[in-house]
């Protein structure tokens, strides 16, 4: 009996603290994420089209929703500024193929379930929309996703996806920087490597 009373007491004590404030300051951006996630799920769960068709329309959706030019430059960091025009061109082509073959197809692992938008906030030049994915077959095992969006000329684009505190773009950048540091900062070697991985 005392145990039950203790439980009830503990419940009452902590219940009230656990309501999270939903701050939707950036409705347009939140709707962008919701509609992106909905389109992604409807493509991925569409059984009437073939696998290659599904992949290509998913890739198309991803590529039209992100700012690949900006991401390409960002992950190369300082090396971008020192690159020759020819290197820049080769790199952009190589990175696009690499992105499609690795990321675009990778993202379907995170959008297979319903994405619940839980809030948004300003972050410097960007807006971050926060969302959760609930793990299949559970109510409470959640994956937290933060979408970094840039609204440029009234066009919203995805700049980064942060999964449980890990930014994919920053990880990619550190990977490229590490490769360059171990290869005499030779950009051509990096481009070569990117091409070989995406083949």
């Amino acid at each position: 009996m005392t145990k039950i009373r203790l439980h009830i007491y503990l419940l009452l004590l902590f219940w009230s603290f656990n309501f999270t404030a939903h701050s939707s300051n950036f409705l347009e951006e939140e709707n962008f994420v919701t509609s992106f996630a909905d389109s992604a799920i409807s493509i991925l769960s569409n059984d009437t089209i073939s696998d290659p068709e599904r992949t290509s329309s998913f890739t198309e959706l991803v590529m039209s929703s992100i700012d690949l030019n900006l991401i390409s430059k960002f992950v190369l960091s300082k090396a971008w500024k020192n690159a020759s025009d020819e290197q820049k061109e080769n790199y952009l082509i190589a990175f696009k193929d690499y992105f499609v073959s690795s990321y675009a197809n990778k993202l379907d692992q995170y959008t297979g379930e319903k994405v619940d938008v839980i809030g948004s906030q300003e972050a410097g030049k960007y807006v971050i929309v926060e969302s959760n994915i609930v793990r299949e077959g559970t109510d409470t095992l959640k994956i937290n996703l933060k979408w970094r969006l840039l609204n440029k000329n009234n066009q919203i684009k995805i700049i980064d996806l942060n999964i449980e505190g890990i930014s994919l773009v920053i990880a990619q950048r550190e990977e490229f920087q590490s490769f360059l540091a171990n290869n005499d900062y030779d950009l051509d070697k990096l481009i070569e490597k990117i091409v070989s991985v995406s083949d």
């Binding site: 503990l10 410097g124 700049i159 449980e164 505190g165 890990i166 490769f179 990117i194």
Partner: protein
Amino acid sequence: MNLRILLVLIIGSTLIFQGCASKGTELNSSLSQQEVSTVNDPFEKVNRVVFSFNIIFDKIILRPIAVTYKALVPGFVRNRITYSLNNLSMPITAVNNLLQGELRKAGVSTSRFIINSTVGLLGFFDPASSIGLVTETEDFGQTLSVWGVSSGPYLVLPFLGPSNPRDFTGLLSTSLLDPMYQIGGGSAPDSLRTYRLGTGAVDFRSQNVEILDDLQNNSIDYYAAVRSFYSQGRESQAASNLEIDSSDQENDIFDDFEINESYVGPDIEITYD
């Protein structure tokens, strides 16, 4: 007596690691003339060797077990295992909540453990969450970060994988602090420890089979990718413990980059095949 020796060891080692940390920063600052690097990894050469060893260990033992586990055990049961591991980590989480001065969270962790161990049938179910008792697991490495101990240089440990002096110290201190090991005695705590370590590794690996396969296949530098994932993950946990918005740190990195930088090269049109 033993306790005192261990405490001295912990405090001593954190001090030494602090030293390492600042040394690492110096190394980085000499690097930064060539290329900006926020990565603190002065032992990269040794780390890469251990990392390669771990990959082989993973390929031969851990991954096959995880894949088999995932194939044979239904999702429902696997989710129960995840819940029970989470439940077993609640007492140590409560201790760390207290050490971090988070009385409310300590209350949540304790009530979670009480409710899920009883009503939740030994922790295989999670009724506590459905009544709003939600908390993150906490380890001693996170407590050290709240106390202001910096992570120190990145380390790859044999079998255990990515770490750093702060988190490794936290790992060693866990059995000292965990009420599950301190209370009860006898063989029960040992079997719990084995369950948690063994099953925990398989549970974690099985949740990440596709992601890690993907990462390994698509990486330009797999070592650096894992290092970034680990460091970013731990940093964001540390930030959330200190109630700092971790996106603030990220913003600085993203703001470094000039959006309107005029691009001099040929404009590449993005097309899809």
